[in-house]
Subunit: 194 residues, 2 copies
DNA sequence: GAAATAAATCAACAACTGTTGACTTGATGG
DNA sequence: CCATCAAGTCAACAGTTGTTGATTTATTTC
């Protein structure tokens, strides 16, 4: 049900990728602690033991899921400072069902497992280095750190609300989404200039 | 270590409260799934079985922790719409170490366990009814729902960043805190008027 | 002071967790 | 065609989880 059970010929790289994909799928919807290794392995159509073989353990698997930069990342394509508010607003209203690009995916995974003792450490480092760092550098002003925090707070907050708390005010009609995007763009601008 | 082991005389109400307090302490720092019932019971200085006796189970205990309105709540004291930005900004920069009033506590608990399957349902309902509802009503405009979402996104995002992601830009020197508070007040105003 | 009742503990349950070693299966190269 | 080695499965592990029934302990009531 979760995985298309195409008969994989014995291919280490392929099954590794399958496990990674199944894991990502689970971690996207539940927290680190509530996801079981057997569930992941089942989703990938392999035995649990392979998780240990390929990733060393649950922690290693999670680390690889969250660090997988072949997946769409928040700052994959460079964006210049002037476009930042519009860029972030776009992320906020991005349609979840639209599977061309889930740029918020890695973000949601981080938010979901941030409170788990083991996963938390991994995530905190990642946020500091891969998100807060680049963002602050992009802003460039003398109080860039604070500004970056404010931007990220808005982005994370809306992500929590929409994806985890299931608040629906964001995704109504298309017209509503446009309005919402405009409002958030304005809000991001305020965070940079107020 | 966690609980002052005063010899409690057999008092149902007191031990119930002790369990509740120990549980709150744990849920404030970890997620629903990673906190064990035995850890909670140990913190309260009682046997695990009592948790089942008094609260029916883990889920019931969590529900009671998160619904306990004798504890400081976000909107305990009424606040009029004009003061809302300043009020929310105050919450953002509120010192965590200051134990007179932890008004963000219930919030952090919600954020920490929102991604756990069982705890998630409870929390989602609570956010809608007890937070988003009053907030939207307080704002009163025709697009109040969207505005409330924006405010809550900022509040939650900064909560996540500060408490869970351990980002330290918020709590530096006293001067920094003042500046930070001012910025956030301005941001909340923008969310209401942009 | 003995009986009744509530409070708390003990012990064990069944289910599940992540992990590990031994085993089987399949493909590959000579 | 057989030996080699990687890929995958199986089974069991030791630990933990939440939960429950029986049992003991303290308090109250007559």
């Amino acid at each position: 049900m979760a995985r298309t059970t195409t008969i994989r010929k014995r291919d280490a790289a392929a099954t590794r990728a399958a496990i990674l994909a199944a894991a990502r799928e689970r971690f996207l919807r539940e927290s680190y602690d509530s996801v079981g290794l057997r569930d992941i392995a089942g989703g990938a159509g392999v035995d649990v033991a392979l998780v240990g073989r390929y990733f060393g353990g649950k922690e290693g698997l999670f680390r690889e899921v969250v660090m997988d930069d072949k997946r769409p990342n928040l700052f994959r394509e460079p964006v210049d400072a002037a476009d930042l508010p519009a860029f972030l607003a776009q992320l906020v209203i991005e349609d979840e069902a639209d599977d061309r690009e889930h740029r918020m995916e890695s973000f949601v995974i981080m938010l979901r497992s941030a409170s788990s003792p083991k996963a938390g450490e991994i995530i905190r480092d990642l946020v500091h280095q891969d998100v807060l760092g680049p963002l602050s550098e992009l802003i460039g002003s003398d109080d860039a750190d604070l500004r970056a925090n404010m931007l990220l707070a808005i982005l994370m907050g809306s992500g929590v609300l929409r994806t985890i708390m299931k608040v629906d005010a964001f995704d109504g009609s298309e017209a509503q989404r446009i309005v919402c995007g405009e409002r958030f763009r304005c809000l991001f601008e305020a965070a940079l200039s107020c």
